[in-house]
């Protein structure tokens, strides 16, 4: 695998560099607007990025296998809509059940995408683009084009995202739990390492007997489950489920993940990296309005950030490879 000793130092250097960049950026924002580094703003920032964080773990696993999933924005909307409709029909339903319901909806979508990619050998971008439309269309169909608004939701449901446990907001808590689980899963379990292997070299993975198709199915299903979960969190947080909920949100997730140093060609990336990437991305979203940049600039800035991140990943890797070659020559 590519995380061998020779590149370990520079891999860590990347995360340290990202951390340094975050600190410098935070100081700059602070200079422009002293509101930035206040407790309440930082709490808002983390709350707003928690959902992004949940999703970025799943997207990282997909990018690790060399794939991509564009359907998650639609999955968020669909799972959120189905859950919200259920809650408005049966207000007494327990929040835990709602979470389970949304996750299950996401799993179904994820299994379909995974099956198409792994067993029907459809390119991930085409399979997920197709599913994106299907699921988005279904969202409009089940809601008949209407919204589910705050008054139709029970207080217990809205408390999923707005409430707090042990003084920490539920959203942040959920994100931390997911990060911990997946950090362990990806670095210390056999299946987790298989994911890296599949992305590093699919052919080798086949030859050494890694069940590549099952790994792909697993990865897309996990992404679906996380997107389903995020759908419930989203609807509960904004107290509104709409047909166009989270439209284009997949792009934000991809941006955060590539910012965190995950290679889009597969096999490279760490959970600590995407945590930093997610925070950096959340910071940009949070701070741009604070320093009076028009919201219409955000999309373009997001795109430039993704492009610069992937290009710098490539340049760093080229540099690494050159260093390795030079070391070998001596």
């Amino acid at each position: 695998m590519k995380n061998s000793q020779s590149s370990k130092l520079s891999d860590n250097a990347r995360e340290l560099g990202l951390l340094g960049f975050i600190v410098v950026l935070a100081l700059l924002f602070q200079l422009r607007n002293p509101e930035f580094l206040t407790f309440s703003n930082l709490r808002d920032l983390l709350n707003n990025t928690a959902i992004l964080g949940v999703l970025s773990v799943g997207m990282m696993m997909i990018l690790l296998t060399g794939g991509i999933d564009l359907s998650i924005g639609a999955t968020i909307a669909f799972s959120g809509m189905v859950t919200a409709l259920t809650v408005s029909a049966y207000p007494t339903i327990s929040p835990i059940l709602s979470l389970a319901e949304g996750t299950l909806v996401g799993v179904v979508v994820g299994v379909i995408v995974g099956f198409l990619v792994a067993y029907c050998k459809i390119l991930p971008i085409i399979a997920s683009l197709g599913m994106m439309n299907i699921v988005r269309g279904l969202t409009y169909l089940v809601s008949k084009g209407k919204w589910v608004s705050a008054y139709q939701m029970s207080d217990g449901f809205k408390a999923i995202s707005t409430g707090a446990t042990l003084g920490i907001s539920n959203l942040i808590l959920i994100a931390i739990v997911i990060y911990v689980i997946f950090a362990y899963f990806l670095s210390s379990t056999r299946t987790g390492r298989y994911i890296y292997a599949v992305g590093s070299s699919p052919d080798t993975a086949d030859v050494v007997g890694i069940p590549r198709k099952r790994i792909l199915l697993l990865v897309y299903t996990t992404m679906g489950a996380l997107a389903g979960l995020a759908g419930v969190l989203w609807v509960s947080r904004y107290a509104s489920a709409q047909g166009d909920t989270a439209q284009g949100y997949e792009m934000s997730v991809i941006a955060a993940v590539v910012l965190g140093g995950v290679s889009v060609s597969g096999g490279r990336g760490k959970v600590i990296g995407i945590i930093l990437g997610t925070i950096l991305f959340g910071m940009l979203n949070n701070a741009l309005p604070l320093i009076n940049i028009s919201p219409f600039w955000q999309q373009a800035i997001q795109g430039v950030v993704i492009l610069l991140a992937v290009i710098s990943n490539v340049l760093i890797k080229r540099n690494n490879d050159r260093m390795t070659l030079r070391r070998r020559a001596i």
């Binding site: 085409i126 683009l129 439309n133 955000q298 373009a300 993704i306």
Partner: protein
């Protein structure tokens, strides 16, 4: 890999002639038209067949360059955004006092430049997939359109400009004539020139092409630039039809166009395809939309149908191409033993 042959080099025989994807498409087209004519008694008139395509031909300009990109084994999801950006820039520069013909030239220049950027990035950073590059430029281009026009609409074009989208020459819509011209040009470019041959060769094995002296980087750049130019043409016709433009125009066009190309029998793994397939599928999807409109089916269901069509088309393609691929794979393993 050695077993792979170019689609265009298959031996001509009666069997091969009848087992062509195009026959399936023609059958599909006929079925859709029969269903449509059952739904509406006024369907089978020359007028229907001349005027209905006006509704979908703007998208059709994108199909051939997208086919070239997919033949290379790449993909471009930024076309919708290129259309939006060039259309917005045209409208804003016209409203700022530029004369309309110059604004139209500017529109084409912007879109061509956007396409060039896509190709340039792909050529310079070969490690990156075209997916991630066009995803980021997709966001950037539309983002710039939003920066320029925010959430407003721009228009008030001169009246003659609407001729592009709505005008007729004799009984034939102007857009149809332009489409036919471009179809002929692209058919020649893809199937009768050296450029076209190199395109298919690169789709089959890009590395081998580089070593045999094909300037692969230039190929990537020129194909993307052509895509950009055609996106500009689409922007002209689309803006003319709508009469005004917004930063969110042409959202999701890339999906429709990719669906048309793939349904037309172009393999997403590159190197295979023929221009007649996408040509047929333009009309299949176009008339399907029209028929669903007769049925009074909502746009949301249309989303589902196009999405499903895309997936099913690729699945069928994979089944079709899988046979030869597996055979050569098996032989490969045997050789090793």
């Amino acid at each position: 890999m050695s077993e792979r042959t170019l689609e265009i080099e298959k031996p001509r025989s009666l069997k091969n002639f009848f087992f062509q994807w195009e026959w399936f498409l023609i059958a599909l087209f006929v079925i859709i038209n029969i269903v449509n004519s059952l739904l509406s008694p006024y369907y089978f008139t020359a007028d229907t067949f001349l005027s209905t395509p006006m509704n979908f031909l703007d998208k059709a300009f994108l199909v051939y360059p997208m086919m070239m990109i997919i033949v290379l084994g790449n993909i471009d999801v930024s076309v919708g955004s290129i259309i939006a950006l060039s259309s917005v820039i045209m409208a804003v520069s016209y409203n700022a006092g530029l004369s309309m013909p110059l604004a139209m030239v500017l529109c084409l220049a912007v879109s061509t430049f956007c396409g060039f950027i896509n190709g340039f990035l792909q050529a310079k950073f070969r490690e990156l997939s075209s997916t991630i590059i066009t995803i980021s430029t997709q966001i950037i281009y539309r983002g710039i359109a939003y920066i320029i026009l925010e959430d407003k609409a721009a228009g008030k074009f001169p009246t003659w400009f609407s001729f592009l989208g709505w005008g007729y020459i004799g009984k034939v819509p102007f857009i149809m004539i332009v489409f036919i011209v471009f179809t002929i040009l692209f058919a020649i470019l893809i199937h009768k020139t050296r450029f076209g041959r190199q395109l298919f060769a690169m789709g089959n094995n890009s590395t081998a092409c580089r070593y045999s002296g094909i300037k692969t980087e230039n190929m990537l750049i020129s194909v993307s630039t052509i895509m950009g130019f055609m996106a500009g043409i689409t922007a002209l016709f689309l803006t003319s039809r709508m009469g005004s433009t917004r930063p969110n125009v042409a959202t999701g066009y890339e999906l429709d166009v990719i669906a048309m190309v793939v349904l037309g029998g172009v393999s997403t793994s590159g190197g295979k395809g023929r221009i007649t397939g996408p040509l047929l599928s333009i009309f299949i999807i176009g008339f399907l939309n029209y028929g669903l409109g007769l049925f009074n089916i909502s746009a949301q269901v249309l989303l589902i149908i196009i999405g499903a069509l895309l997936i099913v088309a690729v699945m069928l393609q994979n089944l079709r191409f899988d046979k030869s691929g597996q055979k050569s794979g098996a032989k490969h393993v045997q050789l090793k033993r």
